[in-house]
């Protein structure tokens, strides 16, 4: 199984531990990756606020690069995934629009034929690698650990662009993975809600209210940790959790793990290699619970 790997800006910026943990887990799972070094940022829905068509042109360029390689794209970020899925959906479902975008790409001698598939790592785990193989790799089952899923908006909505109609299991992918790894799913109301990051620079108090609300809620529901397939959610939920707690007069301290970090722990990998010491909310409590001495 080979993929064109789109790491996204945040795994190379604010959350290097995500990139690090993916590098640890993927070779063992029988995946081959070819990193896309010349693809631009997806625009993250922010560039699209200013110019949607420009966003589609940049993403069509990325999709065309993978098409030339003859590979599907693997993302490790809900936002990268959602933004590219949406662009791909617009291009594939509207031949006139695709032709319009291709006229711009033609100036660079490229065309996008509309054949590239884009998949988040979590979908690859469940759909391409398969539950059985994952189970074979679980060397350290996370028994007794209570994990709250947090998807990120872009991995839940809009359902149509994300292929939920063809593959309904995607709607619950995070619960499925948590369960496979031996941990207990903490189902709480915030799991598909917004982390607040898009508002951080615009309305910080509102953004942090969302962080405080979801992390404290998950804790009240009994979570030992929260796990997310989105590094942008991670930036807010982990990076700004203590600020959010202070603003809202709470104590929260809920460890937030990237999906590959949780997977890596279950695969028996060392916490250090998975970059757990780089998470801002301390993760020692999680490690102790699964019998790793810290």
């Amino acid at each position: 199984m080979k993929y064109a790997f789109f790491p996204g800006c945040v795994s190379k910026g604010g959350c290097p531990e995500l990139y690090q943990s993916v590098m640890q887990v993927y070779p063992q799972l029988g995946i081959e990756l070819e990193e896309m070094t010349t693809a631009s940022c997806t625009g993250a829905g922010v560039l699209q606020e200013k110019d949607l068509r420009l966003g589609d042109i940049l993403n069509a360029h990325t999709l065309a690069l993978a098409e030339q390689q003859g590979l599907p794209i693997m993302t490790i970020c809900s936002t990268c995934q959602g933004v590219m899925s949406q662009a791909n959906h617009r291009l594939k479902s509207n031949p006139e629009y695709l032709a319009e975008i291709n006229r711009v790409l033609a100036e660079e001698g490229i065309t996008y034929r509309g054949t590239t598939r884009v998949k988040h790592f979590i979908w690859i785990l469940l759909e391409d690698i398969g539950e059985e193989t994952i189970l074979q790799h679980v060397k350290r089952p996370l028994t007794g650990l209570r994990a709250a899923p947090f998807y990120g908006c872009y991995l839940q909505r809009p359902r149509e662009a994300l292929g939920f109609d063809e593959t309904p299991s995607r709607a619950k992918s995070l619960e499925t993975v948590i369960d496979l790894l031996g941990a207990e799913v903490v189902d709480f109301p915030g799991k598909t809600r917004c982390c607040g990051l898009p508002l951080l620079t615009i309305n910080q108090p509102n953004s942090l209210k969302m962080v405080a609300h979801h992390t404290s809620d998950a804790k009240e529901y009994g979570a030992d940790l929260m796990v997310t397939p989105c590094p942008l959610c991670h930036l807010n939920l982990d990076g700004l959790q203590s600020k959010a707690a202070k603003q809202n007069g709470m104590e929260i301290d809920l460890p937030i793990l990237h999906l590959p970090q949780l997977l890596g722990l279950a695969m028996g990998l060392e916490p250090k290699g998975l970059g757990l010491s780089r998470n801002l909310v301390a993760t020692e409590s999680v490690l102790e619970k699964i019998g790793i001495r810290v």
Partner: protein, 319 residues
Amino acid sequence: MPTTFRIKRFNPESESPQPYFQEYELETEQSDTVLDALIKIRESVDESLALRCSCRGAICGSCGMRINGHATLACKTKVVSLESPDGTVQVEPMNNMPVIKDLVTDMGGFWDKIRQVQPWLQPAGPKPDAEYIASPESMKHLTGVMGCIMCGACVSDCAALEVDHQFIGPAALAKAYRFVADPRDGASDSRLLALNTPGGMWDCTRCMECIEVCPKEVGAMDRIMDLRAKGIDHGIPSTCGSRHAEVFADLIEHKGRLDEPLLAMRTFGLKNIGQMLSFLPMTLRALVRGKLPRSGPLHRAIPGIDRIRRLFRHTRNLP
């Protein structure tokens, strides 16, 4: 088919008015909507159950409620289409608005916000003899927004409203767009200016809930993004929101990727240095953990940046 309905009840006239859940067992037909089932419950099991409905055909917008956790029209939702692990259908009143009784919410605030955007045509120029005319083609792009039936589902599930009731919300913003983008309207600038204030178009957190729950495919969030783009185009005074979008685009043009520290610095600018400094403790912690993102000259452009820059330039030449 036997179905359990778990309904959130609230009676303001009871001795200690507190919301609570009550379960009802009901025999439902294949063709029953949730509204049909609720009416059956009211007619044959518990006449005290309060709900609001009228057309029963997804037209009037009065039966908005939360079914299995998401706002929708009860008359448009078939009971058989619902999946839930224990076969129970959970019905609650809409969120983000006060509950009057059981499933009936107070839509007063909703209408106040719709009124706030002055949802009527404000044409420029001399008055024509008869009506103001627009060609069908020039109005076609507005059919989506004009399909709004004011049901409140988007407002119920809006993540920004959940933390801040001052936010004007998706339905009113979609309505504002309907007039800003109307070729006959002459007040686009003042409308955009009015939305360029706290609680306005920049306070949406882009969660897409409003797109997902809308029974009429209005796509409120997409319309909010259109308003933002129009605002930037019309040169409205910059805010942290508009600068964020502009700086983001500029960084991609120059580096092909994000430069997080630079994005923050340029978005806040000197005017908002206080906000910038409030991130200092977090920045220091990130530094200690060895994960401060590289920035400026240390964070070089991606290989192949020349082509990305040219794509930006080609796009500027487009009509």
